[in-house]
Symmetry: C2
């Protein structure tokens, strides 16, 4: 979910590219094996594959075996949730996700927000008893084809240290905002409220490279450049990185996500989340025509985004991006050439295929 | 609006403290002198003084003469705006602020959001043809006594440089979220989406101290430690400060504010704002009881906030704060002891008093 700095290209270690649809079928079959109904399995696979297409590998198929399937197997994820609206108003709802796959209950909860927006102008849904839903940007993007602005958030267990603090108390609590443009290259901000996400420490540790001060603290909360110490301590820094760089803002944003996902839903904020009780989600949909003509809105969006893209680059950089540009680029390329897979992901797919007796796409 | 790092105390240069009510009367009289109706003048003075009480001097009475009164005098602010709802749905409205004082039209627009939330569960208002409204946190806080979560945003002219860029294209676009607690020490996040705001460069320049790399660029967009160069170039860095510290997130957040304030309202994003056409505002109100019992929500808020406050501090720090704590502390102290004023602010007050023939509080 971190895509501001170009990561070392996946190409360098890639052995194969696999077509999106082949991986999608594989994921559907794997979910179905564990009792997920066919329609739900397709939704969950859609979310996973969209993540891979957008180049956010940390949330896609590479996570299928160890995260989603493992939890379906041990009962921490409910394959057949009874999603219930517990309370509602014309533009709001509290939803119980019944421990279902986060991608399925996330999709259905965002649909509720969109339906409410159709009637009332806006719709907001807070979800309790939820499970991790993959990329927040999938759900915010669902609003785009409806001429709506979409919002999606998720809280996580506490792995981020408040400004001036020593211990983790807030999650890396993700949030996303999407808004439609005229040319299909929509604005999609999809970010954790920490400076960087866990995956970057893995990459640095594997390469034996130090990480910048401001990414994380060690076990005592002291800023560290040692990626292994940072990864093991799980003391990530809020966006900003350090007090003098206004990390209180990243910390405050993380708490906002906790309020909307954890407290509004009742499941609890990051520090109160206990294994098995799940997490909270928050979804929002805002009809553009509740304010102005959507075509005019889209045209002005594209004008702004093109102006931002045309910003003269600073020395050492090639161009300026708008949130969503890189994901859009990756998606075009990967739909054409297939999704590149690391060797360990290929192995994981083959293992799942053998164990479950389903066809392997690799 | 930047309060994560303790600024050099105002005490060091303070000559006097003035009671809040005396400054309020002075501000009311000054606004009335320029044709602002009495009720509106009281609202505008309330917002200004709330800023001073919260310790955000950059947005309070120190700004009265050079900013608000100057613009009332030269016609850039309309003292008697006809605020109009141009378009609406049950939970949304587009408002034309008619160039009125931002504090007055902000207050009335947030009231519209709250009234819509009472009926529909949530209310969102985007405002065109607006003027600077002081602290965003005033408007988000208006939701608190209604058992609502409040949101307020404002875009500004382009003074922030997109990640990888050389030129300013986005404003320091502020936004605020407020949520009610059980004990009156509410959560109030009130932040610019830049790393720091303009005031910090002034302070550093006055003291001849370098600023950290990551606060701003020089005229060529190159990161600088020279506070004067930074102040003059107005090339502020997005929250994050540098690409490797995820400044694309602060940049993305700034654009979100532009979308909701500038594009949804039609006034335009930061880079398109021209002097005299004003800025855009965005207000939101979300009823807590659209999701769950407000008393339970408030209790869980206080529990979370106390847990965050109890985080063990890192070496060199005394304690951990939650967004709003410092402002709450400052307000209690300043209501008791009066508002501390710098010598140049006292001079400004005396000058205005003489010019307009209104009583001076100092």
């Amino acid at each position: 979910m971190e895509h501001g700095v170009q990561m070392p290209s996946v190409e360098s270690e890639m052995i194969i590219r696999v077509p999106r649809d082949a991986l999608h079928s594989f994921a559907v079959n794997a979910f179905c094996y564990y009792g997920v109904p066919d329609d739900d399995a397709r939704i969950a696979a859609d979310v996973l594959l969209e993540s891979d297409l957008r180049g956010i590998e940390s949330h896609g198929v590479p996570r299928l075996e160890q995260f989603y399937l493992a939890r379906l197997r041990d009962g921490r994820i409910n394959p057949t949730p009874q999603i219930k609206v517990l309370h509602e108003s014309p533009s709001t709802a509290l939803v119980d996700a019944d421990g279902g796959l986060g991608m399925v209950t996330g999709f259905r909860s965002m649909k509720i927000a969109i339906e409410k927006a159709k009637v009332s102008g806006t719709g907001f849904v807070s979800v309790t008893n939820a499970r991790h839903f993959g990329i927040a940007g999938y759900y915010s993007s669902m609003a785009l084809e409806e001429d709506m602005i979409g919002i999606a958030m998720c809280n996580t267990s506490a792995i981020m240290v408040p400004t001036f603090g020593r211990d983790a108390k807030v999650g890396t609590n993700a949030f996303s905002v999407a808004a439609p443009s005229a040319d299909g290259r929509h604005f999609i901000l999809d970010m954790a409220t920490s400076t960087v996400s866990a995956g970057k420490f893995e990459v640095a540790a594997r390469k034996g490279q130090p990480v910048p001060i401001g990414w994380a603290g060690d076990a005592d909360g002291v800023p560290t450049t040692d990626p292994s110490a940072a990864r093991d301590a799980r003391h990530y820094s809020p966006l900003g990185g350090a007090p003098e760089m206004s990390s209180h803002k990243g910390y405050g944003l993380g708490v906002v996500v906790d309020i909307l996902c954890g407290i509004l839903s009742g499941v609890g904020p990051s520090a109160a989340l206990v294994s098995g009780s799940g997490v909270g989600h928050f979804f929002g949909a805002i009809r553009v025509d509740g304010f102005r003509d959507p075509a005019e809105f889209r045209a002005m969006m594209t004008e702004m985004m093109n102006d931002l893209r045309s910003t003269r680059p600073a020395d050492g950089y090639e161009r300026v991006y708008v949130a969503g540009d890189r994901e859009h680029q990756a998606k075009e390329e990967r739909l054409r050439l297939g999704i590149p897979l690391y060797p360990d992901v290929v192995e994981s797919i083959r293992r799942v295929s053998l164990e479950l007796g389903i066809e392997s796409p690799v």
